[in-house]
Subunit: 372 residues, 2 copies
């Protein structure tokens, strides 16, 4: 049997600690995994693109555990009442190749992306940051808001979305969360939202080279958390922002970000640092309070590996037990896979119209017994 976390289970697991504590715990798990960056098998994700979206597989392994995530990106889905992004993933044992956990990752991806964003901001943003602009108020926005309130100390969030209803929904959800001392302001333009912000988070879904942020919007000392630009032809920042002399760009896994990140707009020799280098102290996160720091986030398989390990721990800590599915067969004799089918076959319905009476079968029987 394989452990299973569906939508009902993830609701229970997150409710136990609350989303903020869940995100912070997950961020610590992600941080400790990034600290052993070298141990992970890294590859750019496998993507199959269609005119309306993309379906991706994101595998990785540290030699002990293996994980992969299935994730799609279909911006027009919301028009027909479907999610832009759905995801699920599996955690497996490298030693046996057996899957251990199948989990939903649609909700979890939003949680882990927010955890990663806030973790990066803890290292890259000015320590006195308290105001964040949140551009794009769709499915992931609440998670970003909660993570930055809990982990970065954000106390004012400025919302903007081309869809005003999305901003209202976000404001309502944040209100019910009653986040301590959080001021939520709905703005009428990106410029209004960004003006005076310490941190700017862009988490839009449009699958094109959008220019959400333009150079004149960026003030010295800002940290930009660019989440939405995450596949070829999908970016959010004007290239000149990345090219500022005082800008410092950090990515997750450089080969993947060159293809999918904001830096896909720039020549391949444009200098970036990997987040693991920041953690290991080989690359500075921010040298001065006046630098513009940019976390060009696309989401890397390691973060899903961390999320699946984290979920599995939380699930197994539940004394009331947890769901499992019969995805993998259990055999007394592993060489007798067919035995599983044979037991289910109606004896009355052999492949042959004749039964044991036909001579060849008797012959077979004798031959077999003879050689035993």
């Amino acid at each position: 049997m394989v452990d299973y976390i569906g939508i009902e289970s993830i609701q229970k697991i997150v409710a136990r600690s609350g989303p903020a504590a869940f995100i912070e715990g997950l961020a610590r798990e992600i941080e400790s995994d990034y600290r052993r960056w070298r141990e992970f098998d890294k590859s750019a994700r496998h993507a199959i693109h269609s005119p309306v979206g993309v379906i991706e597989l994101m595998p990785t392994s540290d030699g002990r555990m293996y994980s992969f995530k299935y994730v799609n990106g279909h911006p027009k889905n919301t028009e027909v009442g479907l999610l832009t992004v759905t995801a699920f993933g599996v955690l497996a044992d490298v030693g046996t190749g057996y899957p251990l956990l199948l989990s939903e990752l649609t909700i979890t991806t939003a949680l882990r992306t927010a955890a990663m964003s806030a973790l990066a901001a803890q290292w890259m943003a000015r320590p006195d940051s308290s105001v964040m602009a949140l551009i794009g108020n769709g499915a992931q926005s609440e998670f970003q808001a909660i993570a930055f309130h809990r982990m970065v100390g954000i106390r004012e969030i400025r919302l903007y979305d081309i869809d005003a209803k999305a901003s209202d929904k976000l404001a309502r959800n944040l209100k019910t969360m009653q986040l301590e001392g959080l001021r939520v302001v709905i703005c009428r333009s990106v410029l209004e939202a960004v003006k005076g912000a310490d941190i700017v988070t862009t988490v839009t879904a449009d699958k094109r080279n959008a220019i959400i942020l333009t150079p004149e919007m960026i003030a010295p000392g800002m940290h930009i958390n660019a989440v939405g630009g995450d596949c070829p032809g999908k970016t959010e920042l004007h290239a000149d922002i990345l090219l500022r002399r005082d800008a410092r760009v950090v990515v997750e896994y450089e080969p993947q970000s060159r293809i999918e990140g904001e830096i896909q707009q720039l020549p391949a020799d444009f200098s970036v640092a990997e987040f693991a280098d920041v953690l290991n102290g080989t690359a500075p996160a921010r040298a001065t309070p006046l630098e513009v720091t940019i976390f060009d986030s696309v989401g890397f398989a390691l973060e899903d590996y961390s999320a699946l390990c984290y979920l599995h721990k939380l699930q197994r800590a539940d004394a009331q037990g947890h769901p499992q599915i019969d995805l993998i067969p259990h055999l007394d004799n592993p060489k007798d896979l067919f035995g599983l089918l044979a037991t289910a076959l109606p004896v009355a319905k052999p492949s042959s119209p004749q039964t044991g009476k036909n001579p060849q079968n008797t012959a077979t029987q004798n031959l077999v017994e003879m050689t035993q």
Copy 2:
């Protein structure tokens, strides 16, 4: 909800028609998909190797549906009572990116591999073939025997395995299947099994460059169905067999087979034909009755795509309904992913020790309402 086929379901589905008819129906599905070879997105599978085994992802798509398979290969697993190969897969809608079916593929992979082997033999083996040597009597061997009896007209099968218990198990299972007019002979050596055989199927699991078949064992007109050699460093045939002047080698997807197939032993310019070319008549399957034909099979993603589509059809044809799992959330407002968590949150436990009483929250409330 996502349709689900676990071990219990696959047992029921296969039992309805019996394994032989299931395999033949699947073979027809695979054949029709290979006939539209050009429509499929093809890539060599993604593999992560460890000292004890390999874990692979095999994605493909025809632009309408997307599928991938997770599969491991761990030859030493049987020593600890586990399967060498376990697998599962997903069928998804390219238009929305939503997964439609999650299915076990451990049993199904054995069924689809046998279907593919017999399908290739229908095209490549001499039409009068009636005797098959089956080298390697492990988990996949019954499926190969049933497929070749049903689809190729094999009436005598010669068994050999270094593990005599495996051969006895296979013989017993074939006896219970009561395959019409089938003679089963357990042999004491590969040579004894191969001598006089029209078709030789090798389906061994050992993860090394084994030499199961040597040149002197091969007679003119033989068809070799080489199933077990399917990853780098894992082969079954002596290279000289492939290099015979009268030999014709057919593979599934050349770029993958160059890495994983028997032809990994040969220079990259060694001439092979793809199975799709055989179907489309651009490459002959067999020119004369005296040629040695070799199906260098490694298993390609298209075959799992076919299997998942086939399973989904059979599952949905069951009037009694079928299992589903809550792997993907359903939302009334797809932009309100967070709403799924909010509903599950205990109202008594807000993220903040204070509740709505704190001034900022009131301020927030006013601001939000003001802008509405």
